[in-house]
Subunit: 436 residues, 2 copies
């Protein structure tokens, strides 16, 4: 429906919301507060016509006309008067099916759903292209940081060779707390108290959430389909307070680094705790902040930094997407930027190389270091430095911290397996990559 | 003209270039190397049809078909077969007139011209809107850093309250060298040797270039017209090596900071050397890199960092703009985002407040500090700390470094004028704002 305002046509775009949780309520609130201003700026206005919720009686952070609420997804997805579906339920199912149904029926879709886009993004974008509708997902990675748009549009003339990102606020908060002296459990509890971590924090602390986001970023950056199950991910549960102390002593901080590179053999992608030099740009990303460092052949090094989560930053990204759809809708255009251009293999992570930090608890007696060094040497792993730290004398345990030169992951894990069988080695070891 | 490729329509967009200097040659080179890939990605291809140059015989960094070269601007501007003019001459005149002529005749325009956009951007965008054509200028600020697009589109739902930017690579290179111990002249010569500074560096070192860029950023961020002549700018010529030493001793670095805020009284905007805490995000922006820190009410704090100049980063931005125009051109849409929404006054800089760093060379005798403190007190300026440094005993000169609490600029300059008349004060003083 078109209204006229000041002689200019204002297009009205009818929205159906799926979900009115933290991000949904934040987006509805932002549209209520700033709808007029946005309409003035873009020449289109958004009218919320339906809101799918689980429990209509639940109190919410935003006032919603009760007549818009429904618990029936079909009442939203099958409503022919809706132009655009805003999917903010999260999780793979039923969100993936809802998005596909919406696109199939010719509705545009804006989503913040990283899991769906990471697992099904390429197929859903293909469906959107075929149905001649827009599917936008800026809010799926990095909250208010517009990294999706930058990769899809602004860096289009670049061959992107490398991504380095601190892309999970929950773990970065925990690691920042540990850097300041807390232990893991206390830091996690603090994150939960502040609402940064969920009661079951597995998705965040095991690196699953970051792997979804890295799959999306890698797919866009390298123009090839990188699936989350191809991304090796380790979480942060095994890190100990003393790893931060040892790292600091050598000039490093520890971050959960999402890293992807494209080289002659294909794409290397992983999410894992990593020692990063304190002078590195990502070392100063603290607390719940996120950052994405991008290397492109034209722009060289480029970084985006900001709040990667939260109702307001995420709503900012959702509304920017709504405006981008509105821009296209005004003349029935879609963003048909080709996503997958190359067929690049994803390299088996065992074949990749890194320097490593290795912390081992060992019996405090002569010859122990020689045994460990022997196993490393047999696996062609060269030692850059060794420090032996005293622990508790009374129990006869010492701690050895080894930094290696560049080594192949497969050989490193083989050596580690072998080292753990040595009778002088105790449990509780750490094995962390080191970023240049 | 439309070609067909793989069943899909590929639109051909005919380009006329104005200028084939560093950025022009870089853009032509990028289009030659990556044209096919870009055409595949966006469904449109760019054909360079005319290139305005000053001297067709001059050797260039890129091979251009000699039959495309012309020294006659009208041969480009009046060619009805051209869809889009790429203006890369730089400078206000005749570029501003060329852009206006191109828009007037219904041609789209992409430009990297900060001076033209800073001085005439609002009128030219208005003209583009009226003629229903696109005017894009991503490369005018921050080289490969897509700050224009981010402000125009991605942050559209935000009220932006503050901008802080290191936005001139030449001066940041010089300041970084001075931070490492060089004096101003040596650092400038080094910048000139490396091609970072021009033979006449005034535009950069006096803050003029940064003021143009800040005018563009402020206009977009605050949605009000901020003209470059409303932006107070000081350059870096008065800085001395010892200012960097004193600053470092107190935990600061010195940057040429482009700063703009919007408050109840209007917009405050300035470009001036500023003491910045070493922990500040902009403190770690070194050499020719640029960064823009944006505070918005939805996204909170957000930063873009990258190469702010150079042929390749700038060409990356120009080509991204070409692709954006192509996207719109495919269905005859324009980016009609309203630029000026508010009529906000620009605050007289004398009325703004800051903390200040003051370095004075004084006679090394009793009572000097009392005289200076008295003048400051009479002007209602409160001293936070004072350090007196010995200089050369033999000449009886000492150096006093004063940090003030928040003070009004007008009172500070009045006090400084008065202090300079004291017979115990020698020339060669510095007066620098201090960022929180």
């Amino acid at each position: 429906m078109n209204l006229s305002r000041g002689g200019e046509q204002i297009k009205r775009i009818n929205l159906g919301f799926l979900g009115a949780g933290v991000v949904g309520a934040g987006t509805l609130d932002l549209l209520q507060r700033r709808g007029d201003q946005i309409a003035g700026a873009i020449g289109a206005e958004f009218a919320v016509r339906r809101v799918l919720v689980r429990d209509p009686s639940r109190p919410r952070a935003v006032a919603i006309d009760p007549s818009l609420l429904t618990t029936d997804a079909s009442a939203v997805l099958d409503d022919p008067s809706l132009d655009l579906i805003v999917e903010l339920i999260g999780g793979e199912n039923p969100a993936a099916e809802y998005i596909a149904r919406a696109l199939q029926s010719g509705k545009h879709v804006v989503t913040a759903n990283k899991e769906v886009i990471a697992k099904h993004g390429v197929e859903l974008l293909d469906l959107a292209n075929r149905r001649n509708v827009n599917l936008f997902f800026e809010a799926s990675v990095g909250g208010g940081i517009p990294v999706i748009g930058v990769l899809r549009h602004d860096l289009i003339a670049n061959e992107i060779t490398s991504l380095r990102a601190v892309i999970n606020g929950t773990t970065n908060f925990i690691l920042t707390e540990m850097e300041q002296g807390r232990d893991y459990d206390a830091a996690l509890q603090q994150a939960q108290r502040l609402g940064y971590a969920e009661a079951d924090p597995s998705n965040d602390v095991d690196g699953v959430d970051a792997a979804y986001k890295l799959a999306i970023l890698s797919t866009l950056a390298f123009r090839t389909n990188v699936r989350p199950d191809q991304i090796q991910h380790f979480g942060i549960r095994a890190l100990r307070q003393k790893d931060f102390q040892y790292a600091a002593g050598m000039g490093y901080v520890i971050k959960l680094l999402a890293a992807a590179d494209v080289g002659p053999r294909g794409v290397e992608a992983s999410v894992r705790p990593t020692l990063i030099p304190t002078s590195h740009h990502l070392a100063s990303v603290k607390g719940v902040f996120n950052a994405v460092l991008i290397d492109g052949d034209q722009i060289d090094q480029f970084m985006l930094y900001g709040r990667g989560a939260g109702a307001r930053p995420t709503a900012s990204a959702v509304v920017a997407d709504l405006c981008a759809v509105a821009h296209n809708l005004q003349r029935n255009v879609i963003d048909r930027v080709e996503i997958v251009h190359h067929r690049r293999p994803v390299v088996d992570f065992g074949d990749t190389q890194s320097r490593y930090y290795l912390r081992l608890q060992v019996a405090d007696r002569p010859g122990v270091l020689a045994q460990i060094a022997h196993v490393l040497g047999e696996n062609q792993i060269s030692i850059a430095s060794v420090m032996q730290h005293e622990t508790d004398d009374t129990v006869g345990v010492a701690e050895i911290v080894i930094m290696t030169h560049l080594a192949v992951e497969r050989r490193m894990t083989a050596a580690l397996t072998e080292i753990k069988t040595l009778d002088v080695v105790r449990e509780n070891s750490a094995f962390i990559r080191v970023e240049r």
